[in-house]
Structure formats: C-alpha cells, structure tokens
Symmetry: C2
Subunit: 340 residues, 2 copies
Amino acid sequence: MSEFDLIERFFKRGAASTPRLAAPEAPDPVALGIGDDCALLQPAPGMQLAVSTDMLVESRHFFADADPAALGHKALAVNLSDLAACGAEPLACTLALALPPERARDEAWLGALAGGLLTLADAHCCPLVGGDTTAGPLTLCITVFGQVPAGQALRRDGAQVGDDLWVSGTLGDARLALGALRGEFALPPEALAAARLRLERPTPRLALGTALRGIAHSAIDISDGLAGDVGHILKASRVGAAITAATAFDLIAARAYLTGTEGQFDSKHLLPFILTGGDDYELAFTAPPAARAAVQAAAQRAATPVTRIGRIEAEAGLRMINAQGHSTPLAARAFDHFAD
Amino acid sequence: MSEFDLIERFFKRGAASTPRLAAPEAPDPVALGIGDDCALLQPAPGMQLAVSTDMLVESRHFFADADPAALGHKALAVNLSDLAACGAEPLACTLALALPPERARDEAWLGALAGGLLTLADAHCCPLVGGDTTAGPLTLCITVFGQVPAGQALRRDGAQVGDDLWVSGTLGDARLALGALRGEFALPPEALAAARLRLERPTPRLALGTALRGIAHSAIDISDGLAGDVGHILKASRVGAAITAATAFDLIAARAYLTGTEGQFDSKHLLPFILTGGDDYELAFTAPPAARAAVQAAAQRAATPVTRIGRIEAEAGLRMINAQGHSTPLAARAFDHFAD
C-alpha cells in the first residue's frame, strides 16, 4: 500500500458520513478536506481560530503494544483537551503519521488506529481535513483547529486574587495505571480497569470549556500534572494559590476500589499522583466566589463534575493546606519530557 | 534545560521583533502566540483559512549530520510550499519537535535550527505561534496556516482540456544533489553546490501562488516529483496531459555546470530526475492559452521564472512528446515513502 492509498483508505471519509455540529442552514466550516495541498476552513464570522499541536512518540507516550484504537483516540483527545482549555469548539484536525514499514502493511492495526481517532472526531464534530504519512519511528502529530468568539477565549493569565481554584473530573488515575502497567505496584483488577480507562481513553472536557466562557477568569489543561500546570496559571497571572489537601485527595477516581489495600495507597502515596502524576486531561480554572452557582450550572450543562480545591492568593507560589491548617509549599513542577 | 525553557528560549520571540505583512492599521492576525494551551488567530474578514501539515524524519527526509539551520529552513519551506500551491498567504505556523536527549542539550544546534526556521518565517511573515517538544527520534512536524479569499484558492481539480501546463523554477536538482551526496555519482563542485542549495534550501513560491489567483485553473506543489504530482491534477480534473521533452530537459538548473561530463549527465540520465526526482518545491499549474501574457506578468511580479512544458488534453494519462513528435506514456508515479 502506498502512502496515498493509506490516507485515502483509512482516514478519508465521504462528506455525507461526517457529522456536523452546526445547524443545517449554517455553512460547512470545512470548505475543502483531504486531497489537495491544503485544506480550506471557514470559521464563522466574528470567531477567532484556536490552534494547538501535540506529538506522541512510541515508548515515550505509549507502549509499543498499545491498543491502536485507544492510541488513535488518545492522540486526538490530548489535542482536543487544549481546545477545551481555551473554551473553543472544534472545527477540524490534521494528522501527520510516521510509521515503521511493518505497521504500514498492517491493515487491521491501521483500521483500528483510524477508527479510534475518527470515532472521537465524530463525537466532537472535528473532521480530519489533512494529513501526511511517512516511514519512520511510530509518531503521531495532530494539530487541532477550533473557534471561539473573539475576545472570549479562556487564558492562563486572567486569574485574580480571591478567585476559587477548580478542577474538573478526577486526577491521578492515569499515573496510577501507568505505575501498575510498569510493575511498580499491583492494583486490584477493578482499580486497574478504572484507572487504565482514564490513561488510555481520556475525555476532553470540551463542553465544560465552552460553558465556562464568560464565567472563568482563567483556565488550563492539566495534562502535565496539577501542580505544574496550575503553576503556569500562577506565573502568567502573577499570583499564588493554596490547595486544600483533603479536597485534592478526593479527586482520584480509582480510590473507591483501593479500600482494603492496607495503607499501600493512602494519601501519602496517592497525593503525588494527584499533584504531579500527569496525563490527566482535565481542566483547572479559576472563577470569582460570586460565580460559584454559575460554575456549578455550567458543569451541570456540560455533564462534567467539578471540584473547588483552593483559592488564588496574592502571595506567590503554590501551597497545600492540611486538615490542621498548616501550609506546605509545593514545587510547581510540570512533567518534563527531558527531565527523566 | 526543560522542554518549557527550550520553547521559550529558542523559538519564542517578542511581539515587536516579528515582522508583519499587513498594513500597520490592519489588526494583527495573531491574537495570542506561544505560551497558552492554544494560539488564537484572526483571519481577515471574507478569508478562508488554508491548512497543511508535513512531518520530516531523520534518515528519511534528511541526513543525521544535516546542517541544523538548513533543516529548520527546509522544515518550514516544504509546508509554505503547500500554501503557495493553494494561492494562500501565510498567517502563522506551529512546530512539534521530537528530540533525542543529546540534541535537547545541544544549545548551538538548537539555536541554529530555530534560526533557520525563524529567518524563513520572518521572510514570509509567518510567525511561530505554538509548539510541542518531546524526547524521541529526531522528528519535525510543522503545520502552517494561511489565508485566501473565499472561493479563490488554487486547487487540483480545475484543469481544463486545452490549458497550458506550466512549472515554476527548476526541477531535478534536489535529486541530483541527493545522488551525489549518497555517492551514486560524482558531480563537478559547482554543479554540486548549485544542486545542493536547491535540496537543502528550497524556496517556497508564495509570491507566485498568490499572483496566479484568478489566472490559473489548477495548481499543485510538485515536491513528490513532476510526473506523480501532475498526475494528481489529471486525476482530480479527469483529464490527461502531454509534456514536451525538450522543454522539460531545460528545467534542471545544474545542467549549466555539467558540460564536459561526457555523456554521464545527458538527457537520458537527467530526465528521470526532472520527472520523478522529487524534493523540488516548485509549482505546476494550468491556465488557458489566452492567459499566457497574464501568467508571464504574474511570474514577473513574483520574480519567479515559469516555463510552459505542455498542455492538458482530453485523453487520460501523462505523455512525453519527443523532438520527432513521438509520444511515450509516462507512469504517473509520485515519490512514495513506503515504496522503497
């Protein structure tokens, strides 16, 4: 199979089979899809275009034997999560794919990869409009395009002293699954299954991101770990923050399955996963206390749980407050691909 | 150096140092650059957004010891060439970069890579607005964004029977340089220097692409080889074409330096380089004979030579016509990364 066949066969769809979010009378935002030198997009009038790109490399971001459908899902999900953090709605995506020759010949594997990617793309009306394939070590680079009303994008630099600090969903499960898969520790089967789903099939919080437009002062995708990514908000906004330890500890979803593991997964072991584990495609955001009801209403509209875990303060840095009210500084370290 | 430092230090510029094409009173098309979850772009009203992505892999697209400044230049140039083929003007680009740890520590190499990329970006007012870096085998994935008035993009599917077939610049030199660098044959030093410049520092034909809007019926970037890429126009437009051998042979720039090589580089040896060599970032386009003066005027405005090499015919397929008027079918094979 040639690289041209590969794109046409596995990644190109007929226009009729691509779901659309917009009302039927609205013009299709994709004026030209796969098959020319460029794709052509037409954002709605008054919209800014939001753009993000992420690259996933075998052995670095996923295991060589990763389920290809999950890999296709995750490669797009991590990019959609960046759109969510800006409050943008998806328009389209492109995929550049380097494949070892044996993968390029493996039609079942390619079909599953494309299926995982396109199923998530369909769910968020984010058609694949262009691509590039080449021989090389297995690498996926997706670029996503979204739109957001001009001036309404959620940014990192808008946090204000007195804001509540919120996070969506659950945290730490991806790191928990990774540890179990690496053999660092054993997990009960239910706990591994729950955690692994979060590692391999992350849910981009797009509905929450758009619902928070006009409510949140700042937002970020916390894929590099809560502490490090909240640190980016603090730095960009020139503020500090205090996180309440008890609320943070409640954020790990698999915790419900870890009772009876006799202290192996108590807060001392799990808090680092929550704070710096990474690979959690959730949003951290700040909003004024007066907007608490509005935040909860937005979360409900988006069918996405949110938790208030702390507040923005004038004093620089990130702190953890324990049950006794003692404050411990947290190193605002994000996951760094060159640090380990 | 962390991945965050790496982007900030080598690839991020102050707003003041980024040249802009638009008139000073026009709004900056980049509303938000590097440093948030997404970049925000604002295409001008009435414009469609043109998008293309290309991935370059070490040992596949460039040698491990490639000059990093040339590599940075080429990684962006091959993407800009896709914008040129659509008649789009550049707005911005993103870079996803996988780096082996030793490269991530090599500040001179990183500085040269960024310098090569950003110098070309400046020349075409195409600021880098976002990126991703990770550890991995050396891989560059650039996505470019351009704008083109709605409905005016040059496409592959507009060629009409009777159109002239044109190409810009020169062809075959990149393959000639590659052959010499691989040790397939020896070249006189001047010929190697001329050919190598075309291989390592290709010139995207952006000015020609925009000048051809409203004149050309179809266009394509012929980076995978003239025969294969013209084949894409023929297939999309459901037509055929005949190329005149003598004009095609004149297209190789290094030919001027190959006199006295005693038949080693005669037309029999060089024509395949011109027809299927690849890595030539030129445009092939079609336009009606009535537009010949307009094509030449556009080429002059763009300071880019163009050559009329054949014509579009109703009979399917691609043919070469020799000096005696004999027609030989050409296999319309483009360079395929999985075929060798």
